[in-house]
Symmetry: C2
Subunit: 453 residues, 2 copies
């Protein structure tokens, strides 16, 4: 039966791990396409506070976690590491399967790990108000909670289609005191222009990002926050892997394979980087790290490595990343958190250097794995996290075929209590699969910014 390894509060990491210190070569810098030059730290000052910019660019290996951030982490951290023995038995595999469970946070996912840190640094630097965008609502609710705890105002631009379809995520943000606006809104020029062209626009993450950024630029004392993709977000998430390492040590184990799902890259980074440190330092040469992507949006498996914008409308600096093109709109899979066109620059660099792998999986096989997991281990996974489960099951069955006892660790990044409409869709037999949309990707890739450095 499943065995959980719990840590004490004092075991919450005191430092985040910054993989930039150990990369084979430095990251390609962000690029300012408006002025046709490499972006400088100053380019980020209108939207980020100094400490966040410093972390974004830092090559220091260990970065101290401020005590007030650790104090808030204590609400749910250290999170459990569980040996999934029931799942192992069900699969009849010689593999040992462990999962780290981030669904115990107040927002129900790993997003809180960075939200708390970002809210703290903004508060410290005198910021009064943070604006952000949210799609399905995980990031928005994590940031709303973090802002409330540190006494910051929080403004969330929520993609209109989700605002209507997922009213409860909106309510959760409001419980935490945030102001939530359906995007496109009449509050920004960007929003007004979209509505002028199409009064019935359902919005997009790209528009919402643009609205949030315009909001902070035009409101003094306001800054912007992003929930994935960037280096400082990956940094904050490393508490996941650092705790898991300690927990596996207690279990007397070390993973052969580390798995997490990949949207923008934050939970994958947080889980895998502390183990990849060992690989980069020559201590775990055979370690495999696998990013599990949806076949509807497989940037690592099928994308190109190029400079591209972080948002759909080309507002942000361009980042060097594996991308399907910033204008690419993936199919409507239920794992909304994975419907992002690019992979974080750090993850992209690791793929480039053949240090990590990716696998793309279809929606129905993901939900099939999710049900197996819920019925053996008891916990209902978020659809995003279920991509990692599917990949772990695939590796465990491979181990069985080869007769090898592998140790597999995956991150269960969130619970599925907010996602029961998706399960309903699956159980009623109505769920569709989404193939890799080659034509749409080819078209989107023609819109990449032309940058040569």
């Amino acid at each position: 039966m499943s065995k959980k390894i719990t840590l004490d509060e004092k075991d919450i990491p005191k430092q985040w791990y910054n993989i930039q210190a150990d990369l084979p070569q430095p990251l390609d810098p962000p690029y300012n396409t408006r002025e046709n030059r490499v972006a400088s730290p100053d380019d980020f000052k209108p939207i980020f506070c100094d400490e966040i910019i410093k972390q974004e660019l830092s090559c220091q290996r260990w970065i101290d976690i401020p005590e007030p951030v650790r104090d808030v982490y204590k609400i749910w951290r250290p999170s459990p590491l569980v040996r999934a023995e029931n799942l192992e038995k069900f699969l009849d595999t010689p593999a040992k399967i462990y999962f780290k469970y981030e669904g115990v946070s107040p927002s129900g996912s790993h997003k809180s790990n960075s939200a708390v840190a970002q809210a703290f640094y903004n508060k410290e630097s005198g910021v009064k108000r943070i604006a952000t965008e949210t799609g399905a609502g995980q990031w928005g609710s994590a940031l709303s909670m973090a802002c409330k705890i540190f006494g910051l105002e929080c403004v969330v631009y929520m993609v209109k289609v989700s605002f209507g379809q997922k009213p409860y995520r909106k309510s959760l943000m409001q419980v935490y005191g945030a102001q939530v606006f359906a995007s496109p809104s009449e509050r920004t020029q960007v929003g007004k222009e979209v509505l002028l062209k199409d009064p019935d626009s359902e919005g997009s993450l790209g528009i919402a990002i643009s609205e949030a950024i315009e909001d902070v630029i035009t409101n003094e004392g306001s800054k912007y926050a992003l929930g994935s993709v960037l280096n400082h977000v990956a940094l904050h998430q490393t508490v996941i892997g650092l705790e898991a390492k300690k927990q596996l040590e207690i279990a007397g184990d070390y993973p052969d394979i580390v798995i997490a799902c990949l949207g923008g890259g934050s939970n994958f980074s947080g889980t895998a980087f502390p183990f990849l440190m060992d690989k980069l330092q020559g201590k775990a040469p055979n370690l495999r790290a696998i990013a599990a992507e949806p076949s509807a949006c497989p940037k690592l498996s099928k994308g190109v490595l190029a400079y591209d914008y972080g948002d759909n409308s080309g507002f942000t600096p361009a980042l060097k990343m594996f991308t399907l093109g910033h204008t690419f709109m993936p199919g409507g899979i239920h794992a909304g958190g994975l419907r992002y066109h690019g992979a974080s620059p750090l993850v992209s660099a690791l793929v480039k250097h053949n240090l990590i792998e990716s696998i793309s999986v279809k929606q129905r096989e993901v939900f099939e794995a999710a049900l197996i997991f819920a019925r053996t281990e008891g916990i209902l996974p978020a659809p995003e996290s279920a991509h990692a489960i599917k990949a772990a099951v695939t590796e465990a069955l491979k181990a069985k075929e080869e007769g090898k006892s592998k140790t597999i660790l995956f991150n269960l990044s969130g619970h599925g209590h907010f996602d029961l409409s998706a399960y309903d869709n699956y159980l009623s037999g109505k769920m569709e699969d989404y193939e890799y949309p080659a034509d749409k990707v080819c078209e989107a890739l023609t819109h990449l910014p032309k940058i040569k450095i």
Copy 2:
């Protein structure tokens, strides 16, 4: 900032505490009103397995928790105990407030503690299939999960109005492999009769209980399971208080006041009984235990102590309890789990002996307290659990007024991620308060069974 006290898996209790061993006088026995006699253990055999009946009637102080049950508990137990320092600061109170958090279970509430035990004993005794009823769905999902883990079929009769209004709770039960039917159904005589009279009947918990019981009586190899009220359910829930005691000991503390919300009585019993043991044994004479009830359904505060049926249709044996009358239908508060007409016989006996207190609170003040809690401690409470928060806040403010440093422990029995429509109702200013419905209670009390023993 909040400080969490975590225990290790080995600290999961090895025995449940049975308060029947320490009561000032034995419980009044259940009564078979059909045959006008005290109920015998045999009266329960058609619906419960032997071990459950034995526990229901046992006066043995400590009852071993079987290893397979402890193994499943490990999925989420030990649950955290948290010092709510942010809430204390917000209230500016000298009181120390601790809460035990049961929302970390896979079903999101304390219900799993008994569901797992009941599924195990039924499996052990050769039962193949369990039927139950569910209103809002917490118990149904907890039992579905427990049955799936132990390889039992699970059939849930879900009150039709909830089946329609809360399709996601139904989906959660189906994820765990349960068969869920809207009640009244065409599957039972009871259901057919109701539908014959009123084809549009929205059902009630009473009808659903009757359907579940008829189902098990007419299906060989089937037994029934109940999620609250009965002694064996209270017994299983004592893991909550036993862990909390150990955690407070680590904190060097002992409560002056223990608080939990009260529907049928299971989470109150589980939280308070292990502390009441000390009081009953003369070791904590001044300990106060407070049951927080909704003003819409205040059986302890306003009900009478009498023999009454456990279900609305008078199908079960009669139990001696504080009741508002089994035909009483409380107003439609959002805390569906507290809309029950009676309090468990054990809790009722403790009230009779002046060993515990009750407080009744109104819906809007409950949600006001819930918001304060979410905004200071980060966790979104279930509306039921928020009744306990309201009572804890009241006591903390009383301590402030009196200038006394009290130690308050309350049970946060579940998270509110399934209850965001209720928060939406509150935030939009549309929430109604429900006064104590004296007339309806007076009327209902005329239907009490006439029993004299």
